[in-house]
């Protein structure tokens, strides 16, 4: 059924493209342009130059932090997805009320302010925080541990927890799309539970896994608030560097160049994820 007729349709789609261009493409292009400028004191020099990219690739600190951040975020994406998958399978297996209660519990944190959640984590993770006190009380450790206090480990842990809903939901969606009759068919053809999972459920949930990995990776890469708040001086990430170029160093062109680098990595990861998420035979679309 079509609501729009005549010229209204092309006009509407044109409007949609226009909005998308103005909100996404134009800022991105201006960012790209900015990366080829330079600064002189506090003024931006609009003469094309490669100086920013040169600095980004030659500065040992930049590349070290960049590599470390990519590794950290790949780790976060994989671990979050690994944790999210069984949760999604579990929720998908539930019926009726329990299913919605759990679904609500999973999505509830998304309603809370991001900053509030991080503050909550600070009180959990600190040297005298809930986690340390619990570990001390159970006798697992004798003195407060600094393993999760203001470092990259803390960033890793917090991001995994905060991003979990973004991994659970797409996986759950792809699991829901698998007809129940396929598992029945597999069982009917002598497959046990594990074989059915390995040969039917897992391959058919690939689009969900790919979405979960790319979502969490992109969000972890782009995040600079969490590393700032729980990373401390050791938890320096690429996002924080970019932020500092804009907010502290006032070197927008250099910040833009670093941003372009990050965007390039994200595009590569997205393309990889899309390829891995494809099901042979064109199912799931």
């Amino acid at each position: 059924m079509t609501v729009l007729s005549g010229l209204a349709r092309p006009t509407a789609s044109l409007a949609v493209y226009a909005v998308l261009s103005v909100l996404i493409v134009v800022p991105f292009l201006s960012f790209l342009a900015m990366s080829f400028f330079s600064v002189d004191g506090v003024t931006i020099v609009r003469t094309p130059t490669m100086v920013n990219f040169h600095r980004a690739f030659t500065d040992p600190v930049m590349m070290t932090v960049f590599g470390r951040t990519v590794l950290l975020c790949v780790g976060i994406a994989l671990v979050t997805t690994l944790i999210a998958y069984p949760v999604a399978v579990f929720i998908n297996g539930l019926q009726g009320g329990a299913r919605y209660v759990l679904l609500t519990l999973v999505t509830a944190p998304l309603i809370l302010s991001y900053v509030m959640k991080i503050y909550a984590f600070r009180s959990i993770l600190g040297g005298n925080g809930l986690l340390n006190r619990m570990l001390l009380a159970t006798g697992l450790i004798d003195t407060p541990s600094n393993f999760f206090v203001f470092n990259l480990n803390a960033v890793f842990l917090v991001l995994v927890v905060l991003l979990a809903p973004f991994a659970i939901l797409p996986i759950l969606l792809s699991l829901e799309k698998i007809p129940a009759s396929l598992s029945e068919a597999a069982a009917d053809l002598s497959a046990g539970r594990w074989t059915t999972f390995r040969t039917v459920t897992l391959p058919l949930s690939r689009p969900g896994i790919a979405t979960a990995v790319s979502f969490t990776f992109i969000m972890a890469m782009g995040d600079f608030v969490t590393p700032q708040m729980v990373g401390g001086p050791n938890g320096f990430t690429f996002g924080r560097i970019i932020y500092s170029q804009f907010g502290l160093a006032f070197n927008w062109p250099f910040g833009a160049a670093l941003g372009v680098l990050m965007a390039a990595v994200i595009v590569v990861v997205l393309a990889l994820a899309m390829r891995l998420g494809r099901i042979p035979g064109g199912a799931g679309r």
Binding site: E184, A187, D188, L189, S190, L204, G281
Partner: protein, 369 residues
Amino acid sequence: MIAAVRNRLVDLRAVGKSYGNAQVLVNVDLTIEDGEFLVILGPSGSGKTTILRLIGGFIAPSNGEICLDGKIINDLPINRRPFNTVFQDYALFPHMTVRGNVAYGLSVRGMPKAEIAARSDKVLDLVSLRHLDDRYPAQLSGGQRQRVALARAIVCEPRLVLLDEPLAALDVNLRRQMQHFLKEVQREIRTTFLFITHDQEEAITMADRICVMDHGKIMQIGAPRDLYDRPGNAHVARFFGDNNLIEGHILSVVEGRATLETPLGQLEARCDPSAGLTPGDMAFVTVRPEKIRILASGTQCPEDCVAVTVTITRKEFAGPLMHLHLRPDAAPSVELSAKQLSDDLAGAVLAVSDLRACWRVSDAWVVRK
């Protein structure tokens, strides 16, 4: 017809299934004989699919026993039962090729690759899909998917193939072809088929035996011809092919012949001596429309016939057959329908108002109301 003596393959003994207060299957007894093509026929909600799912092991019975070769298999999980299913929506694995789908059951069992390939080839040839073996289900037509589903089910050489309304989604022509094809395959591989359908024509075409179901109960089991000629009750008489049912009460029963008092007067008809019909019972005289002949009033009626004076109220031309709606003069509230070969009905006969509908007593059959 020579009835082959067959062994019992699967037995259902007083099997019932309830969901909460809703009883979808009520203490059903059913035997599936080895090598037969058994069709379970019933409207939706009659419990026919429930029977298939119980036998397949997809659901557990609320009460009763399911036996294979006389041994109870209630607790045997789906993947250990030697049955394979053709699902209503085919349930083909969308991410596997035709060959992948067909080979699935064999590779799950850890069969050597060479043997898997050989057996898959054989079955793919049987369903004439070998040339499409690298296609994915999304690239196939409905009929082709249907054949993949069948191939996947029979490649494991199950004791029993369960088919859950597999032709429901196909158009009429393809349906006919597939009915024929399924029957052929069944003969070829000599395997027992349990086929579920709501289409009585399909059931008659394919079945060795038909089990008619309604409201979670088995109404009658028998060869298509038996069900057609000797329905066990009013439901089967009505559901299974067109029929005329004339209500009345029984006056006498003598050796397979009953006399009933009906609005059309006293009618004689055959009946099942073991059905326990006794004088006073309410019952129906049933006569198939094609057994009724229309005669001009002067014409002599053959011997041992029932003749009723009628008026034709409506004529429907249906190709070779003429469908006539008749109103008996003695009882205008009763409507009879008759089917005659169009060629047999001379225009002169139809023009005459004073007509008689006539049928042999041996073509009429009594069922309990």
